[in-house]
Subunit: 375 residues, 2 copies
């Protein structure tokens, strides 16, 4: 598998979809990756089984609030300088890059860096989606430390952070990001190839490309949503995926607060009068339909244009958009007891445990009155 | 000159006085320095003219809000580990330590570190007093960069910060300090001995010891305040120093906000009914008597016990204390046009320019009605 300029558009769309509303603006990410590949060529892509035990891998990502990231772009050489500084501190050369998350710009930034530094990029990531906080990934779940990590901005202000816990690293990094204008880059989770093979979520770059392609290049005559849903059931055969709601956005509340883009919005169905409410913190966290929970983190909640199936990031939500909300069961690595202490509903201030979209659907069907289910 | 356990008590008292209310709790600082000297012996003290061109010097200091520093103490080995980590990053061995400021614990911490690391400590500092923010010192005024700097807490969480400007370093360090509980240590301003000789404020450790001695060991029969004022006129022959107000504290407002200990308090004179209001941000910033300005930063504003002349830090202010407010003209290095852009009244949100206590007194005398001045 290779990622060239032709694949970048599919990847940008697919990654924005898997970014569940966050992960940074895909347009910006694509510009950066395109320029890098034009300047320095396509990076090699390694599947997980091609990663060697003694490879030395770091994750890189944009970090902050997506609402800011579209206004405060990446400086020339910023990523390479950050990597070089981290290598200098670690006294070790990085041999491969892995995306921290799959999300709009955050799957494209590692490709740009890999291209510019002539390093391979690994077809995997730490989340299988995007999440708003640093330790919300399989590396932290598995005891791999985020630090020593580097935080850098476009003026090359940098901090090399070393902490005993990744939650402290998140607190410090968030505080630094706020001071530097909520758009910084981080390089973190220095680890061996073996560690990556043991815990990364596999194949997510190629899955994102497949998803993007199903949206952009649907078979003639088919509708975009059908093409997308077919793709999802093919690439995630063991994970439920389905349309949770369809309607028009009638209300959006959005705030850049505490270093995040936080808010909620409401969708009204056409005709039935039903409405759905979604909340987000950089990423979509929860969907309720008529006050009934139908999906919650870590399950993926994706909002797409009703017609074109183009993913809509939290920053692009607008009154009047006609959208579909799609739910996908989370990868199993995000659903373990340990993982849910990092990414379960409680981690986002909700006071109920995680249930998958399939479980929630089954419970709803059980509770529905017989006459209603017969209709 | 040497600093042994005998000198520490005088130094703690004198430094707390010059700390103008801040600089950290002198008691804590003295405990740390005493233990270090007991364990590792007295550090050598270098006068500025003994510092060699190619010495490699850093400043060290406690940083945060003094109100917190008395509850969150220094961990075993914390200072040495921080210094070692900074040296490792700089790839250079430090050959001498200089206090960032003269203030309660912040003149004693460098002595503790110097003792433990067998390094000399320089009889000078960057402020000639204490100030609440990082770049408020002669090194910044003279273009010496605070970074690369290290920030560390008692759990050895660390950040090595490198910024283009010291003001950005302050913002990042403040944000990190807030996340880590507002009591961290910093090592910063790596510089050559020549740079230190060119801009440091000379002799401040020995001045602090002299001030402390004048308060603690006053000649028999003399009053403590007299002894102190005599000492001040001796060590600062070219700088005005005088008692600005005497009275009882009748109101204290104090808040730990934005990473500082901020507040104000009021003193009522005995008999005359006059009252003075002081404001502080870690350190005392301004004195008004009956709404008339009588002293403002960077002039030193020191509050002492009326009877014993013991300095009172902002954290120790209490209703009912009988105090004297003493003003001392700032060292000339803090009064240049360039320096005032870092430490003048405007830097603390006041909308008037700096005037020295001598100037303010002369202006008040000019404006006073003839009959009043005749009294």
């Amino acid at each position: 598998m290779s990622i060239g300029i032709d694949e970048l558009e599919d990847l940008a769309v697919g990654a924005a979809f898997l970014g569940t509303g966050g992960g940074g603006d895909p347009y910006i990410g694509r510009l950066i990756a395109t320029k890098a590949i034009q300047d320095c060529g396509e990076p090699t892509v390694l599947d997980l089984d091609q990663v060697k035990d003694d490879d030395f891998v770091v994750t890189v990502a944009g970090y902050g609030a997506p609402t800011v990231q579209i206004e405060k772009l990446i400086g020339e050489g910023e990523l390479e300088k950050a990597l070089a500084k981290l290598e200098q501190h670690l006294k070790k050369k990085v041999t491969a890059i892995i995306p921290a998350e799959i999300g709009g710009s955050n799957s494209l930034v590692p490709i740009a860096l890999a291209s510019r530094c002539k390093l391979p990029v690994i077809n995997a990531d730490g989340m299988g989606r995007a999440f708003p906080e640093l330790p919300m990934n399989v590396f932290s779940f598995n005891g791999i430390s985020a630090s020593p990590m580097i935080v850098t901005d476009e003026h090359c202000n940098t901090a090399i952070v070393e902490t005993a816990s990744d939650r402290t690293a998140e607190k410090i990094t968030r505080a630094i990001a706020i001071e530097l204008g909520l758009r910084v880059f981080i390089g973190c989770y220095p680890m061996t190839g073996r560690m990556v093979r043991e815990c990364a979520i596999e194949g997510t770059l190629s899955q994102a490309i497949a998803i993007g392609r199903s949206i952009r290049q649907r078979p003639p005559g088919s509708c975009a949503i059908e093409s997308l849903m077919h793709c999802l059931s093919t690439i995630y055969p063991d994970r439920e995926s389905r349309v949770l709601f369809t309607g028009k956005i009638v209300d959006v509340q959005r705030d850049t607060a505490d270093g995040f883009s936080k808010g909620s919005f409401r969708i009204e169905a056409f005709g039935s009068g039903q409405s759905a409410e979604l909340i987000f913190q950089n990423e979509f966290l929860r969907v309720c339909v008529e006050d009934k929970l139908v999906a919650v983190v870590p399950d993926l909640i994706c909002v797409v244009d009703e017609e074109t199936a183009s993913p809509i990031t939290t920053g692009a939500l607008r009154y009047g958009q006609r959208v579909k909300v799609i739910g996908i069961e989370a990868p199993p690595q995000l659903c373990s007891e340990q993982a849910l202490t990092y990414v379960g509903p409680e981690c986002f201030g909700m006071d109920f445990p995680y249930k998958s979209i399939a479980t929630l659907e089954a419970e709803a069907a059980d509770k529905a009155p017989k006459s209603a289910t017969a209709v």
